[in-house]
């Protein structure tokens, strides 16, 4: 069963990109940054013309792991009852596929507060595009919590392109872990821009390959650590019924919204 997403409506909405940008920017302003980063902002946002493809594969009872984890969580807590299966518990297995043209440009200033406050700044700009995801995602509801976890990647002829052997900076020659459990982000392009021209003087450093790779790896690693099975994120609904707040997960692209 597939979700039918009428992307043309989103696409034709001219103000949408702008409003998402504003929303994200206001969120970025609300978070505390380390003092060497300032002015973190989204300069450009475009949701793209290609919709995500979401297929509901299975509706079933939640996996035992969720119950185990919950019960281990409350182990030793006095008076806590073990979590048991409830007829209302449910688990969705969805196949999420996104190969769209989402584009985000993030800018920030790296600041050096020495010898005087904000003495030297280095503007940095990152453009993120070409995001490719094709994974199975588990969404489970039990014990008033929603669990989200990416279970595994699905093979995809478009995303599993063979790397060129001649590319010496590619991942072919870099030391690799034994077996990557999951990537989630199969492709993603980061373009960097460091520095700023001032009155036509000076140079801007563009496309720092190693830096782009470094950022990409770190970004993937975070996703893998936090969101891939057997890790998961649980959203606790027990306190309020305001509905879900998706900005709680800023590192997630927008396509998993129809949770």
């Amino acid at each position: 069963m597939s979700f039918d997403i009428d992307w043309t409506k989103i696409e034709s909405d001219a103000g949408l990109n702008e409003s998402i940008k504003c929303h994200l920017n206001s969120y970025l302003q609300s978070i505390d940054l380390p003092d060497y980063v300032s002015h973190l902002r989204i300069v450009d946002f475009s949701i793209g013309k290609v919709p995500p493809n979401i297929i509901l594969r299975e509706i079933s009872d939640p996996l035992d792991d969720f119950y185990q984890a919950l019960n281990e969580d409350i182990e030793g807590v006095e008076g806590a009852k073990p979590v048991e299966r409830n007829p209302n518990d449910v688990q969705f297995l969805t196949e999420i596929e996104y190969k769209g043209d989402l584009l985000i440009t993030i800018a920030a200033d790296l600041v050096l507060h020495y010898p005087t406050k904000s003495f030297m700044t280095l503007p940095v700009k990152l453009t993120i595009s070409n995001i490719g995801i094709h994974s199975l995602c588990l969404i489970a509801y039990l014990s008033k919590q929603v669990f989200v976890s990416f279970l595994c990647d699905v093979s995809d002829s478009m995303l599993d392109k063979n790397e060129s052997i001649l590319d010496t900076s590619g991942s072919l020659l870099t030391p690799k872990r034994s077996l990557e459990r999951i990537l989630i982000l199969r492709t993603m392009k980061i373009e960097t821009e460091i520095g700023e021209q001032c009155q036509g003087e000076g140079s801007v450093l563009r496309s720092v390959g190693k830096l782009e790779q470094f950022l990409l790896e770190n970004f993937k690693e975070v996703l893998r650590k936090e969101l891939s099975w057997p890790s998961w994120i649980s959203l606790d609904l027990s306190n309020d019924d305001d509905g879900e707040d998706y900005s709680a997960r800023p590192d997630q692209p927008s396509e998993d919204r129809p949770v």
Binding site: D64, P115, I165, P230, D242, D245
Partner: protein, 566 residues
């Protein structure tokens, strides 16, 4: 300009004042010895203060030069300074410029960032004042043994104030900056320095200036890089003061104290390179040759040693590692597979194509044909997680309350879901080598031909033809290959699963079938996952625990949450 400087700090005089105060403090804390001066000075900010730094160092050099010129006693420090050195004026009328020309982030842990920067600084000005003793005989006699000192007629002190002005300091330099775990390395490549020097004592001006310019080269080549490295080291290792050099080379303006030799810092990565399991396997290999047995050469070739794996057989292990690709091998896209096989034959000698590395993908066809089993997938994924390289890493299971505030984000200690594993394990598809018809033997030379890949593919893709009992045996013997070190570690390794030894005969049988690359099916090896990356087949948890546990220091610590906040 690549870096932006805050114009505010240049507009008012606060920045100049700040630098002035820092320089004054630095120049006086040393009481005449040049080294700490430079260390202190170097702690000024790297780009903008470069000019000032340079001036300060050259200044201390100039004093040394003056001392030298007026005394023949190099070995003893003659203090002709009668008062503190006062930096009376510092001025940066124009903003310095710092441009990044290139940036490189290295994958190696030792050197994190390498950058090439251009530093330029115009019209900087520095004025310093002090008082010197004009009566040099007096200075001399104070530092000499009494019996060599003649009776002096004029013993009075004659203090002369001296002002030195460095104006129009223009500095342009290309620098390489390395940021490492242990500190910041910097080298100045193309230094262009010019300044006007003005001394209130005109008779000394040309002498001091000459000596200053002479010492410039060593300043940029040796002194500044050393100073910056040492300074940054103390920052990186968070040891303040104690490591800082306090003794200076005496009198010699160019000598730098040898006590500032960089510290040796043992890095985690040093440990990482020595895998305990590998060391053990190597020693097994070596000891296997240390024998007087006549049959030793037959019995103890690497392939018969338990736990030793020849590289050309590696792919078989990879093909049995519990991964989605292996489990659903029958569903792999045949066309793509064939294409890869073809490629392999041509590129084999160079690098394995990336797709022949073991990857962990659920074949799309499995989904399309609804052939998947959720629990199996989950248990395979959990299992891969468990055998991952990092010890003591638990799954992250964060809990977010949906009111934009974090309720708790503790890590839930979770055991591996054992229940799921066994079922997943026993059904893994092994490479069905022994069932391959012997008939192939005749027309398959050990060098590969184009016809071979197709055969292999067939055999790889037919897991259904394998008898279940065969599979279980294979599966059991997959891990027990480690039993070679079982004896050595059994007593000390609490994590080793028991029950491997009963399988020894089987193990031996497996070896004879699995480990001889020149057997009749040897040619098949090349076709599928030849030359793949070595995998961490044998779980090093037990050994790491005992000797080389690089996480020992972090034991029980929870990792920090990522920078984002809800």
């Amino acid at each position: 300009m690549s870096f932006r400087f805050n114009p505010e700090s240049f507009r008012d005089n606060s920045f100049n004042e700040e630098i002035r105060a820092k320089l004054t403090k630095a120049l006086n804390s040393s009481s005449g010895s040049s080294t700490p001066t430079m260390v202190e000075t170097a702690s000024s900010e790297k780009g903008a203060v470069q000019g000032a730094k340079m001036a300060a160092v050259s200044n201390s050099g100039s004093l040394g030069a003056a001392t030298d010129s007026e005394s023949t006693m190099r070995s003893r420090k003659l203090d002709i300074l009668k008062s503190d050195i006062i930096v009376s004026k510092v001025n940066f009328p124009t903003m310095p410029k710092l441009e990044i020309l290139d940036l490189d982030i290295s994958a190696q842990p030792r050197s994190l960032v390498k950058g090439i920067c251009k530093i330029s600084c115009m019209d900087a000005m520095l004025q310093i004042q002090t008082e010197i003793e004009g009566n040099l005989l007096l200075v001399y006699s104070e530092y000499s043994p009494e019996f060599t000192t003649p009776t002096l007629n004029c013993k009075g002190s004659f203090t002369i104030p001296i002002t030195m002005v460095f104006s129009g300091v223009q500095l342009e330099a290309i620098t390489n900056i390395f940021v490492k775990n242990s500190g910041i390395g910097i080298s100045f490549n193309d230094v262009n320095l010019d300044f006007d020097f003005n001394c209130s004592i005109k008779i000394l001006q040309s002498t001091i200036e000459k000596r200053l310019k002479k010492s410039m080269q060593s300043l940029f080549k040796d002194v500044l890089p050393k100073v910056i490295f040492n300074m940054s080291q103390s920052l990186f290792t968070a040891e303040t003061g104690s490591s800082r050099p306090t003794e200076a080379a005496s009198g010699d303006e160019e000598a730098y104290s040898s006590s500032t030799a960089p510290k040796v810092i043992l890095e985690e990565t040093d440990m990482q390179e020595l895998s305990a399991a590998n060391m053990l396997r190597l020693s097994t290999l070596i000891s296997s040759r240390q024998t007087l047995s006549l049959q030793a050469t037959v019995l103890n070739v690497p392939s018969t040693i338990p736990g030793c794996l020849e590289r050309q057989n590696l792919h078989r292990f990879n093909s049995r590692i519990p991964s989605l690709s292996n489990y659903y091998a029958a569903y792999k896209d045949p066309e793509r597979h064939a294409a890869l096989m073809k490629r392999t034959s041509s590129t084999l000698a160079i690098h394995p194509p990336s797709s022949l590395r073991s990857e962990n993908l659920l074949p799309e066809r499995v989904l399309q044909e609804n052939a998947y089993d959720l629990k199996t997938i989950a248990s395979i994924q959990s299992r891969i997680f468990d055998r991952g390289a990092d010890d003591n890493v638990r799954p992250r299971r964060r809990k977010l309350t949906l009111k934009r505030k974090k309720k708790s984000k503790e890590e839930v200690p979770t055991e591996a879901p054992d229940s799921g594993i066994s079922s997943g394990t026993d059904t893994f598809v092994g490479s069905p080598e022994p069932t391959t018809p012997v008939a192939e033997d005749a027309n398959q030379p050990t060098t590969e031909t184009s016809s071979i890949p197709a055969n292999t593919m067939l055999s790889l893709k037919l897991p259904t033809s394998i008898r279940p009992n065969y599979l279980t045996r294979l599966e059991r013997t997959l891990l027990p290959l480690e039993t070679g070190r079982e004896k050595a570690t059994a007593s000390i390794n609490p994590l080793e699963e028991p029950g491997f030894s009963p399988y020894r005969p089987e193990l031996h049988r497996l070896h004879s079938s699995l480990y001889s690359p020149l057997s009749r099916h040897g040619s098949m090896l090349i076709s599928s996952k030849e030359l793949s990356e070595p995998k961490q087949l044998l779980d090093p948890k037990g050994l790491n625990l005992l000797c080389l546990n690089r996480h020992a220091r972090k034991w029980g610590n929870e990792e920090e949450p990522p920078p984002y906040q809800i």
